[in-house]
């Protein structure tokens, strides 16, 4: 019994020590969350000095009484933005407080909710990702909601220079402008020039565009490539990539009045996908973001990828080409493709608790409606910005040499056409990411032969959605 007590005490002591140590390791993260309250900021915690916004002490706060707090999930964008903004306007980085949650974009909303749950936490600008932007844009509540941009001094006529779709996505379902993006993530169809010449006799991007200008032609061209290559080469790499583009052409939103909608183009896509898959016009069962997805770009198994503005670098195309010494580096060209589409992007919204409205307005204006500011940032970061005037100034620049992976083609000109052609008016709902994935999952299973008919596929799709979004109305499909 004595021994037992001793052991119990020892165990308890160890457990305590263990939890204390565990507490230590996570402390910096917790600290990070506290820096916004003035009392904690006074401590000037040395551990967090890495972030530009955290560098200063509370004493340097601006006239509005505190710093401009930006909620984000990484500092890839906000750090260069602040640097560029401060250099141009004379503001200092001390006026900013970056609340970086350091997670994937998909997990950011959960962190935001926790952070905003405490009304004492400061928040001015909230970065939101296209997939879940509407969660906050549609929210008018005092704690988690966002304010209309007219409340901080924008007017609805200010956005004429911005690509239309970036403005549309920033609107709430009732049509109130609440968010603006500084970037445009328009995408095009990238194809292998050497294979195109061999199999299709195509010598220029214009000739290629003529062959893939709509989905019927796309399918025809895929057939030609398949026949000419003896079934070895697929016109494009993955079904998910095709769906990303195809779904941008839908006319009905996925959800209307809380009810799930399946429009005819989505229905039509199921057969289209099946014929692409069965005939080997895509690489069967290959998934995006797998290592194989990149590997395919260096073989003759695929002729094309759908790539968005941010994907020309290492994140997609350059990696697929095998980087600058790769087998297919420089053998790519980009065309508009069958359907203008966008892929991803980040929007800025203003939290309802915002107490720095003047600076927020200045900051947002600089990166969006102010053509000079946007152009300066486009050059500074190499970003494809949402301001069309700024972008045209960059792409008309005679000195611009294009990028290596495209063999020097000026992709900005192509993407400008795409971005101008995207029409998302009223087509966006906060559920899009979930529903699009569910649809693609069902169609993938249909292609593999799990379901034997289009109706069964749609049924499975509705089940996929109903399982994860229980609050929608499915009475039409009972």
């Amino acid at each position: 019994m004595k021994n037992f007590k001793k052991n119990l005490a020892l165990l308890a002591a160890l457990a305590c020590a263990g939890t204390m140590l565990a507490g230590c390791s996570s402390e910096p993260a917790a600290d990070n969350g506290d820096t916004t309250t003035p009392a904690a900021a006074d401590n000037g915690d040395a551990g967090d000095a890495g972030d530009a916004g955290d560098a200063g002490d509370a004493g340097t706060a601006n006239a509005a009484g505190d710093k401009l707090t930006v909620l984000c999930w990484n500092t890839d964008d906000i750090n260069p933005m602040i640097e560029n903004f401060c250099a141009a306007t004379g503001h200092t980085a001390d006026e900013f407080n970056i609340q970086n949650f350091g997670c994937g974009g998909g997990e950011a909303a959960e962190n935001y909710d926790n952070y905003l749950g405490d009304i004492n936490n400061d928040a001015d600008i909230m970065f939101v990702e296209a997939d879940w932007a509407l969660k906050y844009i549609n929210d008018d509540s005092a704690d988690k909601g966002t304010m209309a941009l007219t409340d901080i001094g924008f007017s609805d006529g200010d956005y004429s220079d911005l690509y239309g779709y970036t403005v549309e996505i920033g609107k709430s379902t009732s049509g109130v402008q609440k968010g603006l993006s500084w970037q445009a993530a328009a995408g095009g169809f990238c194809y292998r020039t050497d294979l195109a010449e061999t199999y299709l006799g195509v010598k220029s991007p214009d000739e290629m565009q003529a062959l893939v200008s709509d989905w019927d032609k796309f399918l025809e061209t895929a057939q030609k490539v398949g026949e000419a290559s003896g079934g070895k080469t697929a016109l494009t790499t993955t079904m998910a990539g095709v769906w990303q583009v195809f779904s941008a052409g839908r006319s009905t939103p996925w959800v209307v009045d809380g009810k799930l909608q399946i429009d005819d183009s989505a229905r039509g896509y199921i057969d289209f996908a099946k014929s692409m898959y069965d005939n080997g016009y895509v690489i069967k069962d290959l998934a995006q973001w797998n290592t194989d997805w990149y590997a395919a770009g260096q073989t003759d198994d695929t002729m094309g990828y759908f790539v968005s503005t941010w994907g020309f670098g290492d994140s997609i195309l350059t990696q697929a080409a095998g980087f600058d010494s790769g087998a297919t580096y420089g053998k790519w060209n980009v065309v508009v493709g069958p359907q203008p589409f966008y892929w991803g992007g980040t929007w800025m919204t203003v939290a309802n608790r915002c107490n720095n409205q003047d600076l927020v307005k200045e900051f947002m204006t600089y990166f969006t409606t102010d053509a000079a500011g946007a152009e300066s940032y486009a050059r500074f970061k190499g970003e494809y910005v949402s301001n069309q005037k700024a972008m045209e100034a960059v792409l008309n620049d005679a000195d611009y040499e294009g990028i290596g992976v495209l063999g020097g083609q000026n992709h900005f000109a192509v993407l400008n056409t795409v971005a101008d052609g995207i029409n998302m008016a009223g087509g966006i709902t906060e559920y899009d990411a979930t529903i699009k994935t569910a649809f693609n999952d069902a169609v993938t299973e249909y292609c593999r032969g799990t379901y034997d008919s289009v109706d069964a596929t749609i049924d499975a799709f509705i089940d996929n959605v109903a399982g994860s979004l229980p609050n929608l109305d499915y009475s039409d499909f009972d």
Binding site: M1, T19, G106, D113, W132, K284, D285, P470, D478
Partner: protein
């Protein structure tokens, strides 16, 4: 102790210090174990789809177990049938439950067989195996590699398409014409998970069983071999019966671990979409809890509670099955004596 405490020795009581020292443990235990446990029960009675939840009674359990025909008891739709949303979530839940049980059984049986054989060999003094400790380390190694790395490794090796290492090799050798869907195929993906789980955990189980076997009195084996018992007889008549407590421990821990199996099924996927055939209850719970646009706390908490109950039942069953018969007899005799 009760027998020896006839004479009471007067001494200073150190008991209060003891309690003081163990207090932090209980505080931590209550905050990080008891509170979350009860909070899970509480959350399982809350609504889905928003971080602002409301009370819905046992609706979540009805959704997961009864499905379409269940009646909604609270909220705007009170009185209506659960409908399509409940049907979908029920069939999902039944599927993941089935997957969990299949995957656990499929990795536990080979694991325990391999481990028993290895443990019996390595503890057998007649076999004189050299470098036992090296083998022990080698067997334990897969368990040290983090699940994330193992999953990445297997996903890469067994990739679906003609670019995957194994598929490419088999195709080049002319053994298969089309790539095998190791990640998305029903049987293929399940077998892969079973193999990976067995590979990861057999070392752990072997070492556990070895310590159990070494705890058996060696003279029993000696006596048996003098009496002419073969190795097989010794194994079945001495080793196995005396290994029972350790076996029970292994079964119970493996069962709890198996029912909560998460890392491999979650990480072993083609690109970003989950393979439905290997989705386990833990993956279901995680995905519903971390759904960005529609956090379904109710579903995930209700599923957790049911998993908890299931584990408790199976655990109790395992204890009952393994209860020593002699011990039972002994107890009965004692009771009779007292009467």
């Amino acid at each position: 102790m009760a027998n020896t405490s006839g004479k009471r020795v007067r001494s200073i009581s150190y008991a209060k210090y003891g309690y003081l020292f163990i207090l932090p443990f209980f505080v931590v235990y209550i905050v990080f174990q008891i509170y979350p446990l009860f909070n899970t029960f509480y959350l399982s009675t809350q609504s889905n789809g928003s971080t602002q939840t409301e009370f819905v009674g046992l609706d979540n359990y009805e959704a997961l177990l009864v499905g379409e025909t269940g009646t909604i008891s609270h909220g705007d739709n009170a009185g209506n049938k659960g409908g399509r949303a409940w049907r979908a979530v029920k069939s999902d839940f039944m599927r993941v439950m089935g997957n969990t049980i299949i995957l656990w059984v499929g990795n536990f049986i080979p694991q325990i067989v391999i481990s028993l054989v290895l443990a019996a060999w390595f503890t057998n003094s007649l076999l004189k195996i050299k470098g036992k400790s090296v083998y022990k380390i080698l067997m334990y190694l897969p368990n040290i590699i983090t699940a994330a790395s193992s999953a990445a490794l297997f996903v890469m090796l067994f990739s679906e398409t003609q670019f995957g290492a194994i598929n490419k090799m088999l195709m080049n050798m002319g053994m298969i014409a089309d790539p095998i869907p190791f990640v998305t195929g029903k049987a293929q993906s399940r077998v892969m998970i079973m193999i990976i789980q067995t590979w990861m955990w057999y070392g752990n189980t072997t070492i556990m069983l070895m310590s159990g076997i070494m705890g058996i009195n060696g003279s029993l084996f000696e006596a048996a071999s003098i009496d002419g018992a073969t190795m097989t007889q010794q194994f079945f008549r001495i080793t196995l019966p005396l290994l029972r407590p350790i076996m029970l421990y292994t079964v119970v821990t493996s069962m709890i671990g198996g029912l909560q199996m998460f890392d491999m099924p979650y990480l072993y996927k083609n690109g970003t979409s989950f393979t439905k055939h290997i989705e386990t209850v833990a993956v279901f719970i995680y995905n519903h809890f971390h759904n960005a646009v529609s956090p379904n706390y109710g579903y995930s908490a209700a599923a957790s509670v049911m998993l908890f109950i299931l584990t408790a039942i199976l655990g109790a069953f395992a204890f009952a099955m393994n209860r020593d018969k002699d011990q039972k007899m002994h107890k009965r005799k004692k009771q009779n004596k007292l009467l």
